[in-house]
Symmetry: C2
Subunit: 360 residues, 2 copies
């Protein structure tokens, strides 16, 4: 991804320094900072504190975490896998990536474990970039169809997105935003409505920042606004990502996605979900009852960071103290509300007969 | 309403001091402060800056504004009416209350204008309290029915509300919250899910504060969370207010109401709107195309106030500078998504044949 004119990834291995590097996403949009992960605990902290976040990215980060863990102690494969798996419960890529590493380590001598884990992590990193670029290419054909059918060619193509399913949620490109980047590359005049995405404001902080870096026109809105914009004909389609998708096409994604899907459905607006096949959980068939939904700290709701008038970055408490707060991080959008699922392997209807084709 | 054990109204006339007093709602929940409105411009500022807000309350405030204007200059009836009418475009009570004052002033001598305006404002104030209490009594019967039909009597009655349609949105009692207060008075163990209500956080700042003052159990959630809670069976009904309702039952209310109504409908959860008859606009039949939706400052989205670690109340900027922001303040919930409309004159279906009965 482009950062102030320089090419970056959300996570990368520096061969010269033999280090695992990340963009610290908790500093954005106010500061661009990178971090070196040195240990398993560094990696777990980065995932739990959401210095890295986004289903595909935490998968790759966890694989690097295995490399760091086995560099510390090559005996402790299982404890490291368990520690990493426990960092976040909802995204299935985490499990998927760790299973890839575990499998690669089968019948590998103790001495070679860390280097095999590293090779697997780097392979996952490269794969993720290729997958995301492919998702973008496939999805852009859908946006192009909508653009072609739009009567008013002096207008823009208005796409609404929720949270950040961008380059920052993956190694590069993103899922939902990859679709938008590829559509913009095709010359479609895309304008993105960016949901703020409370409580962590990944839309306001990360998606707006990414789109600005890539020169894609965008407007920030509060999460409450999308329904009104759709009613007023100001949204041509929605594109979001996914943290876990069932074989039946139910999509678990950032809390609030379901509300936007309802509004899109009510206004006959296409609702697309862009995801790597690795985020499909082929063992589940009912998203609402079966996908574990992470509950996070109440401070994510009560407190927020920003720049004070004197230029200082600080955190303020918006609520009174000792208020009861509930903070579920994800919700499930039933398959019936989803127009198409965009994967690296092509575009599918959100139904079992279609998604089964992706099972290998 | 109860404030630290003392009885208050959102607006009141102090006979001894001959002054119009308000609770300054922009200071809540961090500080409880009252203000004296001395001039027409004080009143317009209070409405525009949302020191007073909520459709019923701004109606009463505007009537007091006419008193203050005519005390300054009894000749300028029309300019004062126009100035007040322009403060906020969406709520119809503003127009309704001003028309009441205008009518009361017909054939009144110049000398008596300000005292007639005052008498009318005080009458509207008293009426509003009685209306809101009545709304609460009617609405509580609906909540009681749901409570009675709930199998698990060890549970609570979970009510979701959006924004603040409480005592602070009216002179006292509120509309949606009056229903909740009256249900709690009946002994129903109500628990309220309070939508934060971005961008101005009236849910987090005002509704939570009010409910705490009245000892009603509540939990703050982000606006994104309601759909998930409904899917999980954690919401028994929704109750919201309205800024303007068409004769056909389309309800204009705080931005994001429509999304909650969609989710309630999708999960077969009753969605109630509590409103005074004065907020029905009998001239309109299509809410989505006919109700003007106020657009407010982008700073409401980019900036927020809170308490810093050192205890200081200050404002921080959450986004980067110069970001494009759209900030519509209201949306329209189509009548088909509304289970019942609760008024001071009883409970009605959201349809023209029913609401026409309320036209006088």
């Amino acid at each position: 991804m482009n950062v102030n004119g320089k090419q970056y990834q959300s996570i990368w291995f520096d061969e010269a320094l033999n280090s695992v590097n990340i963009i610290d996403q908790t500093c954005l949009p106010h500061k661009f900072e990178t971090l070196i992960l040195k240990t398993l605990e560094d990696t777990c902290h980065a995932i739990e504190a959401m210095q890295v976040r986004g289903a595909p990215l935490i998968g790759v980060a966890a694989a690097y975490g295995m490399y760091l863990a086995l560099s510390e102690n090559p005996e402790k494969v299982s404890p490291a896998l368990e520690r990493l798996l426990a960092t976040r419960p909802t995204a299935v890529n985490l499990r998927w990536a760790l299973e890839r590493v575990e499998k690669a380590l089968e019948e590998v001598s103790i001495e070679r474990r860390s280097s095999v884990a590293l090779a697997t992590a780097r392979e996952l990193e490269r794969e993720d970039m290729a997958i995301c670029e492919k998702i973008g290419e496939h999805g852009a054909t859908l946006l192009n169809e909508i653009w072609e059918s739009k009567a008013d060619k002096s207008a823009v193509l208005n796409v609404l997105t929720h949270c950040n399913a961008g380059a920052l949620a993956t190694v590069d490109w993103g899922t939902a935003l990859s679709v938008i980047y590829k559509a913009a590359e095709k010359g479609i005049p895309v304008h993105v409505w960016v949901d703020e995405t409370r409580p962590r404001n990944q839309g306001a902080a990360l998606t707006c920042w990414e789109l600005a870096q890539h020169g894609v026109s965008h407007t920030l809105i509060v999460d409450n606004a999308g329904g009104h914009l759709m009613q007023q004909g100001l949204v041509d389609c929605c594109v979001v990502g996914s943290d876990r998708t069932t074989i039946t096409g139910d999509v678990c994604n950032k809390i609030g996605t379901y509300l936007k899907a309802l509004a899109a459905h009510d206004n006959s607006i296409p609702f697309f979900v862009a995801l790597p096949v690795s985020s499909i959980d082929f063992t589940l068939s009912d998203g609402v009852s079966e996908i574990p939904i992470e509950e996070r700290s109440s401070e994510e709701v009560s407190h927020i960071s920003g720049i004070a008038e004197n230029g200082e970055l600080l955190t303020v408490r918006m609520t009174v103290k000792d208020i009861a707060i509930s903070n579920f991080a994800f919700d499930v959008t039933p398959a019936r509300l989803i127009s198409k699922i965009i994967t690296e392997k092509g575009i599918f209807d959100a139904q079992e007969s279609e998604l089964l084709k992706l099972k290998t």
